[in-house]
Amino acid sequence: MIRLQNIEKVYRTNTVETMALNSISLNVAKGEFLSIMGPSGCGKSTLLNIIGLLDAPSKGEIKIDDQKTDHMSDKQLANFRNKKLGFIFQSYHLINDLKVLDNVELPLLYRTSSGSERKKLASAALEKVGLSNRVKHFPTQLSGGQKQRVAIARAIVGNPEIILADEPTGNLDSAMGNEIMDILQYLNTTEGATIIMVTHDENMAKRTHRLVRLFDGSQVQ
């Protein structure tokens, strides 16, 4: 499903060159739940951003669903992200000026779907994460766990094949974190979503199929 070959990412300034990722090769199968761990600054999020086509590698090749992504235009990349990928972030990244339902509808705005269809899909996604009673709330009126559930609903509303989660439980207590993990596991086992999750938490990582460890930009496990 996802194939990374010799991925390198170098950040350059006028004086310093930092190797964020060094020759990473990785295959993720369809329906797999993979976690990425490593100390802060080891390149976990950079790797996730590259897989999510939010950042381009300095070297190497990425194939998603047998499609090479390196020659895609900005518009094609955006379209690809919209259709194939769903993102969950540690700090939720909800738009505070939009209600919960509107936040969840966001990915569908970049597709050709009617308002009623968007509303239907967003409501269904919120129901899956157990938040159908909060559709008219603003994000500022929700707890951290609820916010993350909204973010998950937003990630799955477009029915993407791949979900990329960047420390989804990082801002939550363990009980809330476990609830979020339950939802992710449900999406993986029941809905068949391929999930790649960056985490600092060994316990959360243990709940995934496979663990990839990074250290100083290199894959060590």
Binding site: L54, D55, L106
Partner: protein, 394 residues
């Protein structure tokens, strides 16, 4: 997407209020400026309605030592004959001080069917029309046959005719002097409007009454139509001749074309000052808009990153930000247009509705243009934001 933009704007109404107020104020100020510019432009394009070339205005003071009407009439006739006998002169006409491009304005009120109409009043003799080559649309100019007329003859201009009589013929209609109650007046002709107050001045009601050359009161103006060959030497000779004839009074010769230029400059002066002020205001508004939009982008980097992650392209982000600015300006323009539309509806300042409508349209286009220009660069900057980078900023 439009619905989404409206939702976003509505939910951020407090933050957007200032920006919308700025756009509204700009609209109102620019409406005033555009109205003035359109009004001036339309006036400039109207026919002048008189031939000012080679016309000299000779101002003279009150003749001294003549108290009876006959002496005054004879005195004026001898002056006229002296001037007309000169080979460079094509025509001579007596008028009061309210002449084209002059400094005098004489306003009065005349009534028709018990309705009072404010009007500019001119006094001229039988030759005035020929000297200034004024076109008559109806009826005739003053002549000897008016000597025996029971009602005072008047010639009104086209604007006055249209306002009072509409499409009906005005000739033969009886009006009355509402200001002084000096009897009735009969319309004997309708003349083209003449832009006697300058090329940028608007049309106004005007009527001519026939000059009584035996009138003992005050001085006046003699309009002299000269041949194109009339030069400074002739002007000097004319001055000397008339100075000898009018020993006890002062005379002064002016050229109507120069007076016209002077008058136009006087009218344009305030407009130029206003345009300079407007220019500064536009720069101010543009900088304000640019600043607010720029600030918004920096404040919304997370949101931009998120939108990019969920499927927006760089161009889509740019379009969205410009769209938001356009929606905000549309709301401001709707409010502004509501107030602006009251001007033609209530016929404020007696300016034609068309002038206001054109000004509103130009104003709307201008504000949209300004908003587009000001949001173009911030929009492009937003499009260039790298999603991974934007999502990392908290």
């Amino acid at each position: 997407m439009i619905k989404h933009l409206f939702k976003l704007i509505w939910n951020k109404k407090k933050q957007n209020f200032l920006l919308m107020t700025e756009m509204l104020v700009s609209f109102i100020v620019m409406f005033a400026i555009f109205t003035l510019l359109v009004y001036y432009y339309q006036n400039y394009n109207r026919p002048i309605g008189l031939d000012y070339d080679n016309v000299w205005n000779l101002g003279y003071g009150s003749p001294q030592g003549m108290s009876d009407a006959d002496s005054i009439a004879n005195f004026r006739e001898s002056i006229k004959q002296t001037i007309i006998s000169m080979p460079q002169v094509e025509g001579v006409s007596f008028s009061d001080a309210n002449i084209p491009y002059g400094d005098a304005n004489i306003g009065t009120m005349i009534a028709y069917n018990k309705v009072n109409w404010p009007s500019e009043m001119y006094t001229a003799d039988d030759n005035y029309q020929k000297v200034l080559n004024i076109t008559l649309n109806e009826g005739r100019w003053f002549s000897k046959i008016d000597d025996a007329s029971r009602e005072k003859p008047i010639v009104i201009n086209e604007t006055f005719k249209e306002r009072v009589f509409g499409r009906e013929s005005a000739v033969g209609k009886i009006m009355s002097d509402a200001a002084f109650g000096k009897g009735t007046m009969k319309v004997i002709g309708v003349m083209n409007d003449m832009k006697d107050k300058g090329d940028y001045a608007g049309p106004q009601n005007g009527y001519f009454r026939r000059m009584d050359t035996s009138n003992t009161g005050g001085g006046g103006i003699i309009l002299i139509k000269v041949k194109p060959t009339a030069d400074a030497a002739f002007e000097s000779r004319l001055y000397k001749t008339l100075s000898n004839l009018m020993r006890n009074t002062s005379i002064d010769i002016k050229h109507m074309d120069k007076e016209r230029t002077k008058r136009n400059t006087q009218l344009l002066g305030p407009i130029i000052v206003l345009l300079i002020i407007a220019g500064f205001l536009i720069i101010n508004v543009a900088l304000g808009l640019f600043g607010v939009l720029w600030y918004n982008i920096n404040k919304r980097k997370n949101e931009i990153g998120l939108r990019r992650a969920v499927g927006a392209s760089g161009a889509g982000i740019s379009k969205q930000l410009m769209g938001e600015a356009l929606v905000l300006s549309t709301i401001s323009l709707l409010v502004g247009a509501f107030f602006a539309v009251q001007f033609p509806l209530l016929n404020v300042f007696n300016i034609a509705s068309g002038t206001y409508i054109i000004a509103i349209i130009l104003d709307i286009l201008f504000i949209y243009f300004l908003v587009l220009v000001c949001s173009l660069y911030p929009g492009r900057q937003a499009a260039a934001i790298y999603p991974a980078e934007a999502l990392h900023e908290d």
